[in-house]
């Protein structure tokens, strides 16, 4: 009789536990979808701003193609937009979860975070030099002559850093999903061994 009661209580407990997990997963799924959707718009915006960024005046002409980090920023944003779209489609597909997919997302999210962060850091550095110049290396301030070019490059770089933030969060989510085996909830209490 007691065994029967324990079994019923156990089933109820497992039900509540699984329901709570389901709710958490829905929130996480929604957040992940948003965090993969947002970078598509942001990357395309940053990319278009930089692609159209060129200026010509009495001092000469300058374009994003003249500076390595800005070219890298365009490529990184292009790759990031493509990957975000691709991963969004995969995430949207209902329940195609597998460890291979979890591992792929985990590794690719990490790589994309590093890729886009490096692009942002390098562009920030070149913008700083263009703004302030450098006495020791006799590099003059290019932004005095090419103000609008610098403003557009700054806007593109700032947007890229919002993408970095999205990808930092996505990396956390994908590592949580991989290592906690997100879609296949356990029902044991690890600290006490097997329960229920």
């Amino acid at each position: 009789m007691q065994v029967l009661q324990t079994s019923t209580s156990c089933k109820q407990h497992m039900g509540t536990h699984n329901q709570r997990l389901e709710d958490n997963h829905s929130v996480l799924r929604l957040l992940e979808t948003f965090l993969r959707l947002l970078p598509i718009a942001l990357c395309v915006t940053a990319l278009v701003i930089m692609l159209k960024n060129s200026q010509q005046n009495q001092y000469g002409s300058v374009s994003y193609t003249h500076l390595g980090p800005f070219r890298y920023l365009v490529h990184a944003n292009g790759i990031c937009a493509g990957y975000s779209l691709f991963s969004l489609v995969i995430v949207a597909l209902p329940r195609l979860y597998s460890m291979t997919r979890a591992w792929s997302f985990f590794l690719l999210d990490q790589v994309l975070t590093y890729l886009i962060l490096a692009a942002g850091a390098a562009s920030t550095e070149v913008l700083y030099l263009a703004e302030k110049g450098n006495m020791a290396t006799t590099w003059g301030s290019a932004c005095r002559a090419f103000g609008p070019f610098c403003h557009k490059a700054t806007a593109s770089t700032a947007i890229t850093f919002v993408v970095v933030l999205c990808y930092v969060l996505l990396s956390l989510i994908s590592s949580y999903k991989l290592f906690s085996k997100y879609d296949t909830p356990t029902v044991s209490n690890p600290s006490k061994g097997v329960e229920c």
Copy 2:
């Protein structure tokens, strides 16, 4: 009788399972210790090379303090060396595992990875400009005049990228440890519900 047999077989299975987990944890612990030890030496080396990096000749004088990214690289390497030492001591302390510690390591390892990667990317960018110069912004090649300065800065930056690699691996380990609740192994099979 059959229940007794199943129970004995289950205990044996759990014993083997826990033994395998213990072995994996020992290897992981050793790898983590090595990956926290190595950056101490590397960061200090990169830091000292950059700190001593200055040159004076007929063209003028240049020092790491004149260039923002190199100053940032010195600070990032200093912080990284300090954190690596601190975290090594904590990891070496036997079995002080807690979720707070796992979360702290996870977040700090991620932050350090981004910090040191950004320092490496910015320094690489300024080195590239110093080597090649830039026509559009009329920045001349500084490395022609200050060759040894550039070589030392390149060495320091290259060492920093090895540190980045160590921290990328440490980030993977600390996220695995956090989300798989590394030190408190589960004994259930998630795909089948509760077993044993």
